[in-house]
């Protein structure tokens, strides 16, 4: 029943989008609650008092926060079309690389955006190295998950969003010449049915990204 499943999120949050992709892949109906992140609802703050962030997943009235934890919960509760691999070692690797994306790649990308003139070169070099490391994990596969989207592909959506939105920031961090394999993977992900249905329209995302960074850094 759709009313038992709710997702508090924001259209502009790739972390919310991760959960939406998985819900789509599993064909799970849910009520989408769109949050205004500049004015978070009392319900969101009640359901995620620790981090006060989206996404928050509500199932039978019980809240879960943190996108990757939500996805594991969904995978364990709705067992069809598994998102995580079956083999424990492959699961460990998927979790490891998803953590790497969130804890290493994301901050490195931010650093390149916020770096002053003097630090920018080094920041870009670091981000490039990390992206290259991730790219190697594809290892000839169509997706990180193999023939179809899996946990790591979903977690990797932030890389896809970077590819799409980087032009709004006047950057080319994920250069398709430097990262041909990652670039091709991005295209395959963008072409996936579930992903397509959940991805915000490109122009909307670009406008949002532009506005957000101008607010941060001042207009370029």
């Amino acid at each position: 029943m759709a009313e038992e499943v709710k997702l508090f999120g924001s259209w502009a949050s790739p972390y919310t989008s991760r959960v939406k992709v998985v819900l789509k892949l599993k064909g799970i109906e849910y009520e989408n609650v769109e949050e205004d992140l500049s004015n978070k609802s009392p319900l969101l703050l009640k359901y995620n008092p620790i981090h006060k962030k989206v996404p928050v997943f509500l199932h039978h009235g019980k809240p879960i926060a943190e996108s990757l934890i939500i996805i594991e919960y969904i995978d364990e509760t709705w067992k069809h079309n598994p998102i995580l691999p079956i083999d424990p070692y492959d699961r460990a690797m998927a979790r490891f690389w998803a953590k790497f994306i969130d804890e290493k790649i994301q901050p490195a990308v931010w650093k390149t955006l916020l770096a002053g003139e003097n630090e920018r070169e080094a920041a870009i070099e670091e981000a490039h190295q990390l992206l290259k490391t991730l790219e190697r994990e594809l290892n000839g596969k169509k997706f990180f998950g193999g023939e179809s989207l899996g946990f790591l592909d979903v977690a990797g959506n932030v890389v896809v969003w970077l590819e799409v939105s980087q032009e709004a920031l006047g950057m080319n961090l994920l250069d398709k010449e430097k990262f041909p394999i990652l670039h091709e993977w991005c295209q395959r992900v963008l072409d996936d049915d579930a992903f397509k249905q959940v991805m915000p329209p490109k122009e909307k995302l670009l406008a949002f990204t532009r506005a957000r960074f101008e607010a941060f850094l001042g207009p370029k």
């Binding site: 981090h51 879960i64 943190e66 424990p88 070692y89 460990a92 979790r95 490891f96």
Partner: protein, 221 residues
């Protein structure tokens, strides 16, 4: 077929001790390889080329890094004495709070321990708020895992050991019986568990080690 299980760790690393506890709870035989973190072995750097840290579990030659990820791997590979709860919601909560400890609590507490005097009051207040949130998760239970040690108890070794050590080294009170009676009671039960007793280094040794580790920082204060 004999399974080959090796653990690259370090005696003072609580992350490393997490894995020892889990392996012992499951009765898994393993070889412990003590790393000198000032002079990491080529094997460690090969098996954890990304982070170059302990612990690393090597199972039949396949390496896994990151303690919480290793714990889940152990639970999914050796099915006796499960350490994660059965119920998906309880599992989600255990994972949430374990990550909370590693990603939020420790850092906020480090701020409280290391802040300059003028900022310390506020930092301590914030750290206490986070500790209280974790304490509330115990509810009426003996352990976070219920009647016996579970994943979150193992993760919370940081609370059971690191806080006490840091409080002594930095001379800042945070986790007190007065303010956190339930959490402190859990600490007592946790360190008293036979397997934990085997794995936890003596507090004095940890304090001495930490004093040396932080000597430059302490000198600058």
């Amino acid at each position: 077929m004999a399974q080959e299980v090796k653990l690259f760790g370090m005696w003072a690393s609580l992350y490393s001790r997490r894995i020892e506890i889990a392996l012992k709870m499951k009765g898994v035989q393993f070889e412990f390889i003590e790393e000198d973190l000032q002079n990491k072995s080529p094997l460690l750097l090969k098996h954890n080329s990304i982070h170059k840290k302990v612990p690393v579990l090597l199972h039949n030659g396949m390496p896994i890094a990151e303690s919480l990820i290793i714990l889940e791997y152990i639970d999914e590979t050796w099915l006796d004495n499960p350490i994660l709860p059965r119920d998906p919601y309880d599992r989600a909560m255990a994972r949430f709070w374990a990550r909370f400890i590693d990603e939020k609590l420790i850092w906020i507490s480090w701020d409280a321990f290391s802040s300059k005097e003028e900022d310390q009051g506020k930092a301590i207040e914030e750290a206490c708020k986070q500790l209280k949130a974790l304490e509330n998760e115990l509810k009426e239970k003996e352990f976070f895992g219920g009647d016996t040690l579970g994943y979150l108890d193992i993760a919370a070794i940081m609370v059971a050991s690191w806080f006490g050590v840091m409080q002594e080294v930095m001379k800042v009170e945070l986790l007190t019986e007065e303010n956190f009676p339930i959490l402190c009671q859990w600490v007592g039960k946790f360190v008293d568990c036979p397997i934990v007793k085997e794995c936890l280094p003596r507090k004095e040794k940890m304090v001495e080690f930490t004093r040396v580790l932080l000597k430059d920082f302490l000198a600058s204060k």
